[in-house]
C-alpha cells in the first residue's frame, strides 16, 4: 500500500486536492453539491480533457502538439457541414471526420518524425493550416446543426441524469491510461521522450512511433470535437483555439513535463479535474471569471515552484 502510494505520489496529491476542493465548495456554495451540478462539472470538462490527454501524449514523446485546438475546431466544422449542411447520416459523417483528423495527425507526425523538424514549429504551422481549412470550409461563419440531429454526444442524458459524454470520456481515459501505462507502444513513446538516444539504441523506430503519437493526439482532438459540436449544435473554425494553452496548463499541472518522458495520463486528467472544479466552484460562488483566471495562473506557478524545489 505504502509503496503504491509512493509510486503514484503526484496523482495522490492531485486527487487529495480535488477532494479537499470538492468538500470545500460543497460547504461554501449551496448549489454545488447537487446531482445536476456534479454532472455538469464533469460534462463541462470533456472537450478540455480530451485535448489534454492528446497534449499529454505529445509531451510524453518530448514534443508539443499546438495544432490539436485547430484539429478539434476543424472537426466541429466538418461534423456540422456533413450533418447539418449536407444532411449526411451521423455514422458516415463521423467516420470521414475521424479519417481526416487522423490524416492531419499523420501529416504532423510525418513532418516531426521523418523530416525531423521541431514539433512546436511544425504544429505552429499546421495549426494555421488546419484553422485555415476549417475557415475555408465554413466560409468564416458558424455552421449550425439542426437541433433534432447529432444530439447523442453532448445533449443526451442516460436514465435522465447521466450525460453520454461522460461515458465517452471515461472510455477515452481508460484507453489512454491503458496505452501509456501498461502497453508497449505507449511505453516506447515515453522512452523516446525521456532519451531518444537510448531509445534508438534499444532498437525502437523513433519516426514511426512519433507518427503514432501525433495520430493519437488528433484522434483525441476529434473525440473532443464531436462532444463540443453536439453540445453547442454547431461548428466554428476557432471554437477550440483557446483550449490549446489551457490543455498545456492542465497537463503541466497534472505533472507532465514539457521536456518529455515524465508524467502520466492519470495525472493529466486529474490536472484537468482540479482546474475544472476551481472554475465551476468559483462560478457557483459567484466569483468573476477573471478571478478564476488569476487563481489558475497562480496555482500553476505555485505547484511548479513546489515541484521544482522537491527535485533539487
Amino acid at each position: 500500500m505504502k509503496a503504491l502510494f509512493q509510486k503514484h505520489r503526484n496523482e495522490t496529491i492531485l486527487a487529495s486536492i480535488f477532494l479537499v476542493l470538492f468538500v470545500f465548495f460543497s460547504f461554501a456554495s449551496r448549489n454545488f453539491f447537487t446531482l445536476s451540478n456534479v454532472m455538469n462539472l464533469f460534462s463541462q470538462m470533456v472537450t478540455l480533457a480530451f485535448l489534454t490527454l492528446g497534449m499529454a501524449a505529445s509531451m510524453f514523446s518530448g514534443g508539443m502538439d499546438l495544432s490539436i485546438g485547430a484539429v478539434c475546431s476543424m472537426c466541429t466544422v466538418l461534423c456540422a457541414t456533413f450533418v447539418g449542411t449536407m444532411g449526411m447520416h451521423t455514422l458516415p459523417a463521423l467516420l470521414i471526420t475521424l479519417a481526416i483528423a487522423i490524416a492531419c495527425g499523420l501529416f504532423n507526425g510525418f513532418l516531426i518524425g521523418y523530416c525531423k523538424i521541431n514539433s512546436m514549429l511544425v504544429t505552429l504551422g499546421t495549426q494555421s493550416l488546419y484553422t485555415g481549412i476549417g475557415l475555408v470550409i465554413s466560409k468564416g461563419v458558424t455552421v449550425s446543426i439542426p437541433l433534432d440531429r447529432f444530439a447523442l454526444f453532448g445533449r443526451t442524458r442516460l436514465f435522465g441524469f447521466l450525460p453520454v459524454e461522460i461515458l465517452i470520456l471515461a472510455l477515452g481515459i481508460l484507453l489512454a491510461v491503458l496505452m501509456f501505462s501498461y502497453l508497449i507502444p505507449g511505453r516506447r513513446i515515453f522512452l523516446i521522450g525521456a532519451n531518444p538516444q537510448v531509445a534508438r539504441f534499444a532498437g525502437i523506430n523513433i519516426a514511426s512511433n512519433i507518427l503514432v503519437t501525433y495520430a493519437f493526439c488528433s484522434a483525441y482532438a476529434f473525440f473532443g470535437a464531436i462532444v463540443l459540436a453536439s453540445r453547442v449544435a454547431s461548428g466554428r473554425a476557432d471554437v477550440a483555439a483557446a483550449l490549446v494553452l489551457k490543455s498545456v496548463s492542465a497537463a503541466v499541472f497534472g505533472g507532465v513535463s514539457t521536456l518529455g518522458g515524465i508524467g502520466s495520463m492519470a495525472g493529466a486528467i486529474l490536472g484537468v479535474a482540479v482546474i475544472q472544479i476551481v472554475t465551476n466552484g468559483m462560478d457557483m460562488m459567484n466569483f468573476s471569471t477573471y478571478l478564476q483566471q488569476i487563481s489558475i495562473g497562480a496555482m500553476l506557478l505555485i505547484v511548479l515552484a513546489f515541484r521544482h524545489r522537491k527535485r533539487h
Binding site: 523538424i117 511544425v122 495562473g297
Partner: protein, 348 residues
C-alpha cells in the same frame, strides 16, 4: 559574393518570395504597387515588427514567451491611462510609462524562468493568465477611449516632407512626390528598434553573452556567463518593446482595451520562425525576422486587395510557415546541406 549567397540563402529566398507575391498581386490589382499602399503595409506592421525583435531575442536564448499579448494589453492600458490623464499633451511620458510597465512584466517573467529553471513556456502560461485576469478584474473589461491631442497623432506623424519638385519625380508619382522619407513616425521607430537590436546583439558584450547562453547553456556557464542576466535582459527587452508597440497601437486606433493582443504570441513566433530563428537557441537573424513580418504582412494586404475572402489568410500563413520550416530541415538533411555549406565557405 558566393559566400554571402550561401549564408543569407534564407533571407534571399524570402525576398524573392515577397517580390513574386508582390508581382502577382500587382497584376491583379495595380494599386498594390503604389507608394501609398507600400507605406500602409509598413505602417500597419510596425507594431508586430517591433515586438518580433523582442520575441527573436527570447527565442535566441532558447526560451519562448507566450505572455507577450498580455504584456501588450497591460502596458497599452497604462499608456492610455497616462495619455488620457495628461489630455494627450505628453506623448513621451505615456510611451515611457508603457515601456516601463512592459519591462517590469518582462523582468518578472525572466526572473521566474531563471531562478526556478522551469521551462519558459509554462512560466509564461501562468503569468499570462495572471496578467490578463488581473487586468480584466481591474478594468472590468472596459475600454479606455477618447485619446486626443499630440499623443493620438504621434504614430502617424510625418516628420519629413515628400521629395518633389524635380520633373522626373513629379512625373512618376503623379505630383504626389516621392514619399520614401516621409514615412510615419511608427515606421521610423521600427527601424530604430531594429538598429538598436542589431547593435545590442552583435556589438555589445552582453548581447554576445545572450547568443552564447542560447547557443550552449553549459559552455556559457563554464566560462562564467550569467544565465540569469541573459534571461533578464531578453525578457525585459521583450516587455519594453511590447510596451512601446502598445503605445504606437494606442496612438493609431485611439483606444485601448483589455483584450488587446490576444493571439499575438503565435503570430510573432511564426514571423521569427519564418525568418530563420531556431528554437534550439543561439541563432538570430534580424533581417530574417523583418522579412518574416513583411511576408505575413504582404500576404494579408495582398489578399485584401485582390478581394480574396479573409478566411484564406490563415491557410496561406500556415502553408508559408510549413514551407519555411520544411525548407530549412530539407537543407540540413540532404547531403551537401548546411554542414557542407559551412566547410564550403571555409574553402572559398
Amino acid at each position: 559574393m558566393r559566400k554571402i549567397l550561401r549564408e543569407k540563402a534564407r533571407e534571399l529566398i524570402l525576398i524573392g518570395v515577397i517580390i513574386v507575391i508582390g508581382i502577382i498581386v500587382t497584376f491583379i490589382m495595380p494599386a498594390f504597387f503604389s507608394q501609398l499602399n507600400i507605406i500602409n503595409v509598413l505602417y500597419s506592421n510596425a507594431v508586430f515588427g517591433i515586438m518580433a525583435m523582442g520575441m527573436m531575442l527570447i527565442i535566441t536564448t532558447g526560451n519562448i514567451d507566450v505572455s507577450v499579448g498580455a504584456q501588450y494589453a497591460v502596458s497599452g492600458m497604462v499608456v492610455a491611462l497616462v495619455a488620457r490623464a495628461t489630455g494627450g499633451e505628453q506623448p513621451l511620458l505615456a510611451i515611457l510609462a508603457g515601456m516601463g510597465t512592459g519591462m517590469a512584466l518582462g523582468l518578472m517573467n525572466g526572473l521566474i524562468v531563471a531562478k526556478l529553471s522551469i521551462p519558459a513556456i509554462v512560466v509564461t502560461l501562468g503569468t499570462l493568465n495572471i496578467m490578463r485576469g488581473t487586468l480584466n478584474l481591474i478594468t472590468s473589461g472596459n475600454w479606455i477611449d477618447g485619446l486626443t491631442g499630440p499623443f493620438a497623432k504621434f504614430a502617424n506623424l510625418r516628420l519629413l516632407k515628400p521629395i518633389n519638385g524635380l520633373g522626373v519625380i513629379h512625373a512618376i508619382t503623379g505630383g504626389k512626390g516621392l514619399m520614401v522619407f516621409a514615412l510615419p513616425l511608427a515606421v521610423y521607430i521600427w527601424i530604430l528598434v531594429m538598429v538598436v537590436t542589431y547593435i545590442f546583439l552583435y556589438r555589445t558584450g552582453v548581447g554576445r553573452d545572450i547568443l552564447a547562453v542560447g547557443g550552449n547553456k553549459e559552455a556559457a556557464r563554464r566560462v562564467g556567463l550569467s544565465q540569469t542576466k541573459a534571461y533578464l535582459l531578453a525578457f525585459g527587452y521583450m516587455g519594453m518593446l511590447a510596451g512601446l508597440a502598445s503605445a504606437i497601437a494606442a496612438s493609431k486606433i485611439k483606444i485601448a482595451q483589455p483584450s488587446n493582443g490576444t493571439g499575438y504570441e503565435m503570430k510573432l513566433i511564426a514571423a521569427c520562425v519564418i525568418g530563420g530563428t531556431e528554437f534550439s537557441g543561439g541563432v538570430a537573424s534580424i533581417l530574417g525576422t523583418l522579412l518574416g513580418v513583411l511576408l505575413l504582412g504582404v500576404i494579408d494586404n495582398g489578399l485584401v486587395l485582390t478581394k480574396v475572402p479573409a478566411y484564406w489568410q490563415e491557410l496561406a500563413t500556415g502553408v508559408i510557415i510549413i514551407l519555411a520550416v520544411g525548407s530549412s530541415a530539407f537543407r540540413t538533411m540532404k547531403p551537401g546541406g548546411r554542414r557542407a555549406i559551412k566547410s564550403g565557405g571555409d574553402r572559398k
